[in-house]
């Protein structure tokens, strides 16, 4: 009997294989680990494991005075630092009831929308890399460099600006900024059709992203998805329009939405949003009033006891800050509701049933930044 047991009878179904995608993997955009359960090449189960970049950002925040938290927010979504600053200072201002001067508001919007363009550019480039299109990456980085140059001329920094202050802005725009920024926008607008030529209109690219990673509206709301992902599912929801903060209610812009709820729609939403951001910046540059840039702010910031949940529309979605104050100089509790964290949580739902190659595209379409997911 022993001799006939050469090979154990093989199961009729094919064995399932577990593959770790990450934490070191070129498509996880950082240190994210996805446990994939594969049946052949088809993913049957996705389990994200996060926290590799966890630094207990919120605990750090509790141990700093309100102003000192600003540089730490830079490191959340390091591709959109301006927006993190924006969201944080807005939350503190709302908690304290501070007024921000007109000029500072316009500056905030200009920088924030430029940041949105830069962030979407990085996303577009890396998404191209995920799908094997290397050239778009370089194109996008070329434009982003120019935006970073502008930011450098304003804040002296290229990535972590720490440029917003509670109650206003620390420095006025340099003299050359207006002309430089306008020149950039003029230069940037014809670049968008160029991306279309390389990416959007390419039939291979279209076939790769259409019809995969479908996220229906019900699931999207159930998982509290926000930002371009939500709009890709056809829900016209943009906090800049629906819960206006700062001076966004003064600008005219479209909210692009998708219809098929797939990766392609998310791509198109971001692609079109860049053009809308250009519009907003142009209007803001046109209307930029002269005047003060820093409001009346007490020397020692002591918000009254109480708590607030304040949200802004970051390039990735709803960036919320929950701040509980006990009346002291430091936040009693400071919590970040990061859009990428929440958006990533839907991956186990939209991932399974696709090939590994599609997983890469779907993950790319979520647009995660691990600094923000892990906090």
């Amino acid at each position: 009997m022993e001799q006939t047991e050469i090979i154990e009878p093989i199961q009729e179904t094919m064995e399932e294989m577990y593959v770790n995608m990450g934490p070191q993997h070129p498509s996880t955009h950082g240190v994210l680990r996805l446990m994939l359960k594969l049946d052949g090449e088809v993913v049957t189960e996705v389990t994200p494991y996060i926290g590799y970049l966890h630094r207990c950002h919120e605990k750090i925040g509790e141990n700093r005075i309100y102003t000192q938290v600003i540089p730490y927010t830079d490191r959340l979504d390091y591709l959109a630092s301006m927006y993190n600053n924006f969201g944080y200072v807005l939350a503190v201002e709302r908690l304290m009831g501070l007024q921000v001067p007109e000029r500072a508001e316009y500056m905030r919007v200009i920088l924030a929308e430029m940041q949105r363009i830069a962030s979407h550019l990085i996303w577009m480039g890396t998404f191209g890399l995920d799908l094997g299109n290397f050239t778009i990456f370089m194109y996008c980085f070329r434009e982003r460099e120019k935006i970073l140059d502008l930011f450098e001329s304003v804040s002296g920094q290229r990535l972590n600006y720490s440029f917003y202050r509670i109650g206003g802005m620390p420095l006025d725009l340099p003299d050359s900024f207006l002309t430089d920024c306008k020149a950039f926008l003029e230069w940037f607008k014809p670049r968008l059709p160029e991306y279309d030529a390389v990416m959007t209109d390419n039939i291979i690219f279209q076939k790769r992203v259409q019809g995969i990673g479908k996220l229906d509206q019900k699931t999207a709301i159930d998982y509290a998805i926000s930002g371009p992902m939500l709009r890709g599912s056809g829900i016209k929801w943009d906090l800049r329009r629906n819960d206006p903060y700062s001076i966004y209610d003064r600008f005219e812009f479209e909210i692009p939405v998708g219809s098929a709820s797939d990766v392609w729609d998310r791509y198109m939403v971001r692609r079109l949003e860049m053009a809308e951001s250009v519009k907003i910046v142009e209007q803001a540059l046109r209307d930029l009033p002269p005047g003060e840039i820093m409001g009346k702010v007490p020397k020692k910031l002591k918000p009254p006891a109480g708590d607030i949940y304040s949200r802004v529309e970051s390039p990735r979605g709803e960036l919320g800050f929950y701040i509980a104050s006990d009346g002291s100089e430091k936040p009693y509790r400071y919590k970040v509701r990061s859009p990428a964290f929440v958006n990533l949580s839907v991956l186990p739902v939209i991932g399974p049933g696709h090939l590994v190659a599609d997983m890469v595209a779907i993950l790319g379409s979520i647009d995660i930044v691990l600094g923000e997911v892990d906090r």
Binding site: M17, V19, E41, L131, G132, N133, I204, V356, A357
Partner: protein, 338 residues
């Protein structure tokens, strides 16, 4: 040429040395020449690819090593790879792991036997010509599977399986697409195929075949948009993810050598081989071959990657029927024209 050879043999015969010795020497010389050509050509191609991709992507690419536009970059990279530590993963099957790059390279090398660089510049004008290339190139797949399996890494196994599936699927349209040319010439011999194109290049009557061949050839070379076996964003690097240093260099060398072979065969079958005015034949041949290589590079840096099921669909449901159609029409025309 013939006379020099005869004198060469006679010199040895006069010394009483058996006939096999000069023949072996001759074989070694030819083989060394081919390897030398491959190495130089691959180095040039790698540098070229980097320059082309750079200029497509609005950058400069290598600019420092060697002075003029970084021409020596590939040499420096090659030396770096050669002096790197030879790493064999702990769980790997050592023998198979070591054998795999050799097989892949041997297959790439063997294909050069039938490339007609000029009227007399061919290692051996085999009777079976094109068929030899097709059969020998299937060895590459064995090498890739060996590499993927022996690395003891799931990503490399996946890459190897994808690669095998891809190569086997695309070999069929590849073979069928060149049948039109072979039917027209009535021979498999590379020399005869080139000579048949003295008046008109086959790319004109066989345009469909040319396109199908080029597409299938891209897939055979695992290049974008068909680089699924290596897809770095999915499989990290596919079957050679565990290879480094010298062994990796051999895979790399074989990959580019294959690219040259594929382009050279396209030149022979469709672009009239060495025919062309003014310039010497070998130069014409190289110009045409490098032009096809340039097209392949151009595509690589412009297109996105296909998905694995789309790749299979394209091969079986589009290319193969088209190739058969092309073959049928060619046959019909040949019969009607007598």
């Amino acid at each position: 040429m013939e006379k020099t050879l005869e004198r060469f043999y006679a010199a040895f015969a006069a010394l009483g040395i058996p006939w096999i010795v000069p023949q072996l020497i001759l074989m070694l010389v030819v083989a060394s020449l081919v390897i030398l050509f491959i190495s130089v050509s691959v180095m040039f191609m790698i540098w070229w690819e980097r320059k082309i991709s750079a200029h497509i992507q609005v950058r400069y690419g290598p600019m420092r090593v060697g002075g003029w536009h970084g021409w020596a970059q590939s040499i420096a990279d090659g030396i770096k790879l050669l002096i790197k530590e030879d790493v064999i993963p702990a769980g790997a099957d050592k023998l198979v792991f070591a054998l795999a790059p050799m097989i892949v390279f041997a297959a790439a090398l063997a294909a050069y036997v039938i490339i007609p660089f000029g009227p007399n510049l061919i290692v051996r004008d085999l009777n079976i010509g094109v068929l030899f290339y097709i059969s020998i190139s299937s060895l590459t797949v064995v090498g890739i599977i060996m590499a993927g399996w022996s690395s003891n890494n799931k990503y490399s196994v996946l890459g190897a399986l994808r690669s095998a599936a891809q190569a086997v699927s695309y070999e069929v349209p590849l073979v069928v697409s060149i049948l039109g040319v072979i039917m027209t010439v009535g021979s498999l011999s590379m020399i005869q195929i080139v000579e048949a194109q003295q008046r008109i290049w086959f790319v004109i009557p066989q345009f469909a075949g040319f396109l199908i061949y080029l597409t299938a050839a891209l897939a055979e070379c695992n290049r974008l948009p068909f680089d699924i076996p290596e897809a770095e964003s999915e499989l990290v690097a596919g079957f050679h993810v565990e290879y480094s240093g010298m062994r990796f260099a051999i895979f790399f060398l074989a990959e580019y050598a294959n690219m040259f072979t594929v382009a050279a065969i396209a030149t022979t079958l469709f672009l009239g081989g060495w025919h062309g005015p003014l310039l010497p034949p070998w130069l014409w041949f190289l110009i045409k071959t490098y032009f096809i290589i340039f097209v392949m590079m151009w595509l690589r840096w412009t297109l996105a990657r296909l998905r694995v099921d789309q790749l299979m669909n394209l091969g079986w449901k589009v290319l193969l029927p088209l190739a058969f159609l092309n073959m049928g029409i060619t046959g019909l025309v040949l019969v009607l024209l007598g």
